[in-house]
Symmetry: D4
Subunit: 242 residues, 8 copies
């Protein structure tokens, strides 16, 4: 930009260059607008470990690109981060159960089918909501089915119809993490399993559920990190656009 | 001692008896005949970590007590141990799938109901057989239901009748160890869960199944050590005599 | 549905009933009244990971069914949850040591024998109390024996009489978790072992006690999750009704 | 079938039943022909933990259904198992690098795009081959790109074209398991990561690679169990049919 | 001692000196002025686990030695410690992102080349800053390159020039810790890898990154403890003086 | 019993007394006065996990036995517990660095030699002080040597004389826990190693130090639990009375 | 040095000798004769990880010093190592249960009291024998008490007399490792606990026993590495000479 | 190459291209000649997990480039691999202790100083030899100092002169892995620590040593993977050329 200001490079040339510059350097972060373009994703900020100021700064860089119609998503945020983001974009909405902030700039549905978010217990809902909102902000029709843990198998079987309507299933469970195995056996579509850190004692903050899911005897199950509802929805969305 | 104080048993006789009670010292082991009496168990030798000679010696001490009608069970044995035991007792039978040796001295059924051994996959059968034989040798009516893993839930539901007939269920699974949660939710009786060391990679020799079972969301499930079909049957038998 | 097809029950009536069966959907949770019926359990809410509002809502759905005589139990609750529950049911009582809330609607004893809760150290009492209250609310005669750790074996042997009177024993210990092995060797009845998260350093939040119990050399011992006094009492209760 | 042969059940009635019979019980296993139908998979036998005889028996049940055009796949097999299977089906082929046995009964391509199997090092090839053969036997066009580990990033970038042609990528790596993160960042399609047990010391039999993949900073990556090339290909195939 | 034997220094004087050497005992700590001399390091206090008073006391002992030109560094400090140190030395400066306090007494550059601090994500910056400041206080020319994680490999390749200018590289990453492998493959100089505790779930507080780095397939990579930016800079500095 | 045999105490009175011994039941705890007698220990209360009220109650039961000259020790206490204990016994003293409360009732030295407490770093001092005070309250002459970690081996060798004067050495270290190996090689007496939870990252709260000590190549080293300064002093004291 | 002071050995000769001491360099090993002198130990070779040739070479260096009356001990040896050692010293004896080789050169008892080796199960005997032989070769009166596991507490209490006669107790157990806690509570002397790698499943090769022992609620218990019977006997011997 | 054979590309043009081709594709591996050039390393093959044939094939590709003067190194080889390599290059030499094969094509010393390999015990020698040979084949003057573990600190201090002569130190130890901390404190140069998998029980195959080294209190210590003598020598060599 200094080159531009000194007249060495023409403005239009610079603009052209910027279009191809794969990332925008705002000091402590390199905002990767192209990834959103490349992958059809919403623009995303992972809030944890960043200050409210840093998050707001990154969101500002995203919002500034007015032409963009990409939705903006901040995950793992809290009230303080939301306050800072709200000052940058008035249309920001906070979802306190999951700590997600959404800035909706497009309602276009680009995913081909329905993404179903299935969860085992009441305490898995925060992760489930993160997955649900992410899937929706990435242009998918997404629904949910909560509290259908395997110890009451009839609750799950009761909703078998809903399961078979989904094109991709996100399956969220803590404790023994058995739900994806049962769901995976009931449907022919890919199941993304998300272990949650709910539970106590030998649940080891989600490790037991994670291991259970990695050992699932259903062969259409893959796994993401503990509590990673966002990641599951990214993959589901990426599959749903195929 | 009451008998002594009341003059029914002479002091020296008592002393002699006491010498052989409550355990018989054969050098490297103290054979606890009383435990069998006390707990109604068969007399049991854990074969692993003992030489064929040691096992045969212990069995000899058990067989020697002719009046006893307790069945004798050797677990974790192999062909070599069996050969040594066979020399001590001609009625010994070897079950190669589970490595169990049985010496049946009584066919009396003392357990009040049926013990059902349910297992998830073909490779869990060795542990299931150990449980089944142990339960039977301890005087129980015991049946089995194999290869009903949760990824094909219809296979399990097909046998729901059998599940409801059991007084105690032993539920054996490797990999994610989800079977006890589903079974536990279908029946009102106690379910003893046995993780098995089948599987690979992140099954960690049964640790994943163990952790899954300890975190079971069904509240009638308790757990024993990995591959401990014997222990599960002991507890089931002990419950079935109540 | 048979009743409907045979004309005994009108379609709209059936639809209404179905709404309440086999579980009642209150949005974030599916209250499973049937499990209580099916398994003879009290109706139970696991408080941890739920908001005070959610717990109260679930309790309200339970209390609403006036005909029911099932006791109601909320575990892992705190003063805030208690306040919310108290507003829903005036007869709720809070037990601060264990964080249990009880709503007693029946004093009927349905368990056949006595359930004894044995614990090793003073700091295991919260878990012991959770087990004791759960056993009692599920219709059992339950007693306790506290502070009888194995490093002072005479304290345990002093109470041998009490041990032999029990039909089922719940044995609670932290640190090395050795108590169930000793107790298991003294009685012929099932022993449900509960590791506790007391201790420090290499106790790893109860993992050491858990592993010790899983490796118990007493063959009438089974294990539940760390600090799971509730689960132990469920299983004990389920055995005690056999 | 005995009932049919004895005239008790009519042939058409039997056929109808078979269509809905969810599994065929051959004693130690319940062969689930329907899963193959339901999920479009090849019929699969997991060889590890089964005897050569058991595997051959299961394959025989599959081969017997002549009308079926499903390919048959045995994974984790060895020369001994192969010999037994060969006796049952002359068209069986053994792939010693991966231990896979294939019986090809159909060459139909049902997957919509190309599945690319990318692997990091020479010692990851056995797992890569298992994935490749599974994908092919399940009716997919599948290619491979070997030895493109991240410490020589130019080797991977050189093949960027191939990466962008794939509809689904299976990415196989041991040691630090970094390859899926780099590949995931280069493509907009789903990446199924497979950790391998290659490496030594702190690779802990694949655990390090597994953990690395679960923590991938690329958001289109999901993970399956260590060395589970088969599972990765199942999921990839299931996605590729959408 | 040579000086003494040659008569240049009196015995009592030597004894007095020895009392203060090679370390100065201030009760709860033995301040090792010699290590700084011996190793050319700045004088360093590790703040964590020490009270503000203790840190200030140790700094006072360092500052007291006026002749010394060694820079002083306090790591893992907070505002409270800074306040106490500030009272001891007015020239102390606090760097809140990393919790480092610096007291600059010399600007001499003794390192032969440039030390480059490369980090993967925004949340790795605190550790990166600790490394950067440490390297600078130890007399090195040090630069940084932030937010160049491997899932956007182009961001890193864009700065390849900077990488090749460095004499030693410190490479900081959390989550899967893959950055050092890629960087190591691009340069012929030593790469010191620092895992960070950023991430969540299966990142296990930096363990995953640590393991990934230990298994790096690039052979010019060594590793230090999680979050140990200070240690990495010490080693880098020690190499840069060779 | 001596009193009885000498006629000083009547048989029935003795029997009554024995009924209250070997432990006194104060409801939530069984105070074991006999252990102190049996083992020559001070009377001890482990404060962690007990309320201030419970600790004070136990101390009251100890203090009540006026004839006793046993010192009283409360470990893992805090200011709140101290306030409660102070009300029970005015002579109670609080040591805030280690959280120990001492009530000295005897200054008699019963240990035969000197117990030396050696520690590696400043942050190990709390554990070292717990060991020091415990050893002293149990009637030993005990000294300390702080901040002699192995990375400055000259600091340790400087004090070799002190090491050789000790009859038992307690050696306290965090991080890599190497000090006991070096100390053990320098002396012929038993070395009790205490790992501390100081450190960060891969120190895993003391596990690394613990493992290091268990693998010590010096053969006169044994180990106690992480941070267990009290336990180390108990064993040292018990050895020192031999 | 005594020889020097008495004029028997010239100063320069002594200096020369000292140059070759405190260890003798035989290429791949530095034989530390002084440690034996310094610590009163027998001379010891750890056989595992050394070739038969290397062990024999080290033993030859020990035997060569004819004046020495130190016993020689080789641990973790096998028949092959024994054959090689036998060629070097005809008086070598092999103990196959424990894999110990002994060369007795002195029968002097230097330990002040009796060392008792107590073990829990038959499969702990190899470790117990290693401890027993080591204690004896180091000049102690040592006895043993086998097969007294805690699940049959009467077997242990029966031998209480023997326990109270010991000056130091070595307590060996696998599985849950509870024996030292019970033994420690019965005696006032130091108890050295040795976990063994016997057991299966969740015994994790002795880790469970190790953790149990580290968390022992008896305060006179310290711990050595898994299966380290030798180390336990070293410490016991070192205590027994005090 | 097909293009060349078909005349489409001239031979010299092809040769030019090959010079810049960063790797040579031999099917199952991409031989990276450039890395050797780029990093000054010898050409290296990691033998483990490759068949004898594969290793020989890769070596053949290396030997074929006659102009090259790079030494060739095969690590983790065995007699079988050696036989295959020997057929490809007659000058290959096998070092059985470490399993290294060397093909020396240049004796040029390019490293600026001496690399010293220090190891703790006899059983660490295989790893030490791998490091030593690697350092030498990469053009360094390298020496070794064996069997100087910390429990006999005088053995190490005796050789302090040698330590101070080194420009880089590779420090190899198993068990508690304490050696690098002591060595690091004695020298001002970088110390590369290599944990070894020697030891037993709680050494966990080298994990304890690894953790100890990562927590070293000496600040000039970095760490490589367990048993990775090769990697340590690479880094040392890379530093030694600076």
């Amino acid at each position: 930009m200094e080159a531009v200001s000194k007249g060495k490079v023409g403005a239009s040339e610079a603009t052209a260059k910027l279009k191809h510059l794969p990332f925008e350097d705002i000091g402590f972060a390199k905002v990767d607008h192209h990834r959103a373009l490349r992958q059809g994703y919403a623009e995303v900020v992972f809030g944890k470990g960043k200050t409210a100021g840093q998050v707001a700064e990154i969101v500002r860089a995203m919002v500034r690109k007015k032409a963009s119609r990409q939705n903006i998503l901040v995950t793992r945020a809290d009230a303080k981060i939301y306050a800072a983001v709200k000052r940058v974009s008035g249309s920001a909405r906070f979802h306190p159960v999951s700590g997600v902030i959404t800035i909706e700039r497009s309602k276009e549905i680009t995913g081909k089918g329905m993404i179903l978010v299935v969860s085992a217990g009441t305490s898995d809902i925060p992760v489930a909501e993160e997955a649900l909102l992410t899937a929706q902000m990435m242009g998918n029709h997404a629904e949910h089915l909560y509290d259908v843990g395997v110890a009451g198998i009839h609750r799950l079987l009761e909703h078998r119809g809903m399961l078979t309507e989904a094109r991709v299933i996100i399956c969220i469970a803590g404790m023994e993490g058995a739900l994806p195995s049962v769901v995976g056996g009931l449907v022919p579509v890919p199941v993304i399993a998300v272990p949650t850190s709910t539970g106590y004692g030998a649940s080891f903050g989600g490790v037991t559920a994670l291991l259970g899911m990695l050992n699932s005897c259903a062969s259409n199950v893959t796994v993401v990190n503990i509590d990673n509802g966002f990641g599951a929805a990214c993959v589901a969305s990426c599959i749903n656009r195929l």
